[in-house]
Amino acid sequence: MNAPLRIGVVAMAVFLSICTEALRADNYVIDPSHTSIVFGINHLGYSFTYGRFNNVSGGFVWNNASPATGQFQLAIDAASIDTNDAKRDEHLRGPDFFNAKQFPHISFQSASITPQRNAPGQFSVNGNLTIHGVNRQVSLPLRKLGEGDGPFGNYRCGFLCQTSVKRSEYGMTSMIPNIGDEVALTICFEGLRQGAPSASGTSGASGAKAGSAPAARGGSGAKQGSAGKKTGSGSKTGSGSKGSSGRR
């Protein structure tokens, strides 16, 4: 085989493997035991109250070689809210706040993912966030924390999202401003890979981490003294977004 032909064959093989790799993506199911949805909200300007949602489900599709093709879906059981105070939780589930019996789920469905330039492992995820039956297009900052084999042989991939939302934009206007309008959110989730691994899934190698994983902050999405401001990078939730109330 002469040299040009050999070069052409090698080039074609490389091109095909890149295309194939780009097309393959791994499906992940969210592991609820290693997923935390934590929020913080200002109380009377004197303190921040933190809480969490205990029930979450969802999944994502991820391709390391082509992050823009990824997809994320998340569903949170609104009635699983937990602020370590049973009566307050009951009130929060009620019509004055989440109205969990009427709007049982908080959900997010991604539409597109944009990698951040000059910030490897960080992305903007655009999609529809539905809270209290109100659907808004949002752009959430997402950071990939790492991926690799778990202790029982299952392959895992984890992300962190820290942002803030204004509850009034979702129709929850009760007791503003005594209870803050801006809510800081920290969503940290792990997914368990489903099915056979693709080439892109193992390209990171077992135990490889993308960037440095931040220390666990647990609900410190809002810093003290900065009334509910979001932490982390990325665009504000709801910026340039259009809201549309979900019809019943």
């Binding site: 029930n55 489900s57 569903a75 059981d77 009635a79 009566k87 009951e90 009130h91 009620g94 019509p95 004055d96 109205n99 969990a100 019996k101 009427q102 709007f103 049982p104 789920h105 959900s107 039956g133 109100v134 009034s168 129709g171 206007t173 009760s174 007791m175 503003i176 005594n178 109330s245 979900g246 019809r247 019943r248």
Partner: protein, 313 residues
């Protein structure tokens, strides 16, 4: 937490609006039924929209009633629809038959509309999510909706059957008291929002009743049974299914309202009718308020027993 603006927008405004409309309609029509229906409808709508306008603007508040998002947003439309049978009933015997059919349809439509899309009667998309939201099975749905519809229709029927010419002061006063008690019970049962709605109804009834007594109308709020059942019954449905209002308390409150404005045996003397009405209204009302208060105070005791409350270093 009740703000001065809540008292103004949800109390004074609907009371004044209802009073003005009742006086105006009575003056020009001399028809007590039309006056009561119009005053309750306008008074309630004024208060409901004023409270919503506090956060969203008046036009948005009105628009929300015609493009409802939450279940409570359906109540303004419900009160408007409930006025239609009253108008149709004026068109002779055939009109009265059609009016009763419309009442039955509304009593079926209202609870269904309030609950559809919620955890009890989920939409298709909701039912696909993995969480157990406590959705009803088909027999449960039929049973619940039938029961609620029957209760609302019975209350409406009972109210419409009231004899004319009897003292309206007592019925108006009792109806206002029942609405106020309902507001308190709802607020103590975990929903200040729904308590506010019945607060608006209370103010509306108070304004209308005051003018009706001054003008010596011979008919009371039973002549606006439709709007009253729609709002009061609707609020109780919301309170039970979306808040923590107990079913027993909801039934007692609905019973109290039906007796407050409803039919009494005409053979009884006026004094006996008054006594019986008061007894049958105030007993269930007292039970409902007492049960709600006991539960509410029990939660307050839990808070005070927190050993860390007075922690000192």
């Amino acid at each position: 937490m009740i703000e001065p603006s809540d008292l103004l927008l949800g109390g004074l405004l609907p009371a004044v609006a209802a009073a003005v409309v009742l006086a105006f309609v009575w003056k020009f029509t001399r028809h007590a039924g039309a006056a009561w229906s119009a005053s309750l409808t306008v008074g309630y709508l004024a208060g409901h929209w004023a409270l919503d306008a506090n956060t969203a603007g008046f036009l948005s508040a009105v628009a929300k009633s015609f493009n409802p998002h939450e279940a409570r947003d359906w109540l303004p439309l419900a009160i408007l629809l409930s006025s239609i049978p009253c108008a149709v009933a004026l068109a002779g015997k055939k009109g009265r038959v059609i009016a009763w059919l419309l009442r039955a349809v509304l009593c079926v439509f209202l609870p269904w509309r309030l609950l559809v899309g919620s955890a009890y009667l989920p939409s298709v998309s909701l039912s696909k999510v993995a969480f157990d939201t406590g959705a009803w099975s088909t027999p449960e749905s039929v049973a619940w909706l039938s029961g609620i519809s029957t209760a609302l229709f019975t209350a409406w029927l009972f109210a419409e059957a009231e004899n004319r010419g009897s003292v309206c002061r007592l019925r108006a006063s009792l109806a206002t008291l029942v609405a106020l008690s309902g507001a308190v019970v709802l607020a103590m049962s975990g929903s200040f929002t729904y308590g506010q709605l019945l607060g608006v109804l209370t103010a509306t009834l108070a304004g209308s009743s005051l003018i009706a007594i001054i003008l010596r109308l011979d008919r009371g709020p039973e002549s606006a049974a439709g709007p009253l059942v729609a709002v009061f019954g609707g609020a109780l449905v919301l309170g039970h299914f979306f808040s923590e209002l107990r079913l027993l308390n909801a039934c007692l409150l609905l019973l109290a309202m039906a007796v407050a404005i409803g039919w009494m045996p005409p053979k009884l003397s006026q004094r006996m009718q008054v006594s019986l009405r008061c007894l049958l209204c105030l007993i269930p009302l007292t039970i409902a308020v007492t049960l709600a208060a006991m539960e509410f105070s029990a939660t307050q005791v839990e808070l005070e027993s927190n050993p860390y409350l007075n922690f000192r270093q």
